[in-house]
């Protein structure tokens, strides 16, 4: 029979072993508490009222099929690659299924709506952080309007390249 440390044998609990076991349990408890922080507060959905009220846009459906992009979306075949944060900012779930909204406090008056990312990273992100991967991402750039709505505008090539290029 293989010899095991006597501390694992219940019949031979010495006071030292008990101390060691308690110490071990405390260490495990501390490790657990250190690694399992309370989950971050849930990130609220960002409602974006797009100025252009087209009939066919993400979030709508036609003949039972969901529309994943509309006029103004630039659809990019990522082929499983990663999309990166173009600036320091925040990623929030959008009020459209399968979409998130990226905003940056250093870039006022603009939002990016990104649809099609699988398991997107939500919350605060730094420039160059991975936002998510996907086969095809639909990239919409929105500019704030005086009435509080957001107009889809043509994104700059540089902006899209930054989001597609690893830092």
């Amino acid at each position: 029979m293989p010899d095991t440390p006597s501390c694992f044998k219940s019949s031979q609990h010495s006071s030292q072993c008990l101390r060691l076991q308690r110490f071990g349990m405390l260490a495990i408890a501390l490790l657990t508490s250190a690694s399992c922080h309370p989950s971050p507060p849930s990130i609220e959905t960002r409602r974006v009222h797009v100025q252009q009220g087209w009939e066919l846009q993400p979030g709508h459906s036609i003949a039972g099929h969901p529309i994943v992009a509309g006029l103004g979306d630039v659809s990019i075949r990522l082929r499983g690659n990663t999309l990166y944060a173009p600036f320091d900012g925040k990623v929030e779930p959008a009020d459209v299924e399968d979409c998130v909204v990226f905003s940056s406090p250093t870039v006022p008056a603009y939002l990016l709506r990104l649809c099609g990312l699988s398991r997107p990273r939500l919350g605060i992100v730094k420039q160059g952080d991975r936002l998510g991967t996907g086969h095809t991402v639909h990239f919409a750039t929105l500019r704030k309007q005086p009435d509080g709505t957001w107009a889809i505008v043509e994104p700059s090539l540089n902006l899209i390249e930054t989001a597609l290029t690893p830092p």
Binding site: D3, L31, P108, K126, L159
Partner: protein, 129 residues
Amino acid sequence: MSRRNPRKSSSFQYFLAGGSLLALVGLLADVRTSFEARPVSNVCQDVVQPQSVLSRDELSQVLAVPERDAKATIQAIVSDPYCRLAPVEIRQGVVAEREVYPLAFDPHTWFVLLYEGEEYAGYSFVFQK
């Protein structure tokens, strides 16, 4: 009858000591926060007016100006900015200029204005730690 194996008992103690040390490190240094994004702290491309701040009155006037109004409308309210951020191009073919004003009543908060040409596009707040 089993005898205590001094080598294995010693290993067990090392294991416990190592685990405790890891736990201590985990408590003192939250690895995840170490990698969290920090607020922008020093992204000014050039400092224009080091003493510049935005008063409460100026802020309330700027907030009343609608987006897409003339840049001149904003500039009639505010003085020179503290600094300018690097120009960015968000819309194709349109370069955006961004000017920064620390708030007089909360200097750790920056008020960022974005202009496109002669048009005022909008504002945001940057909260610095």
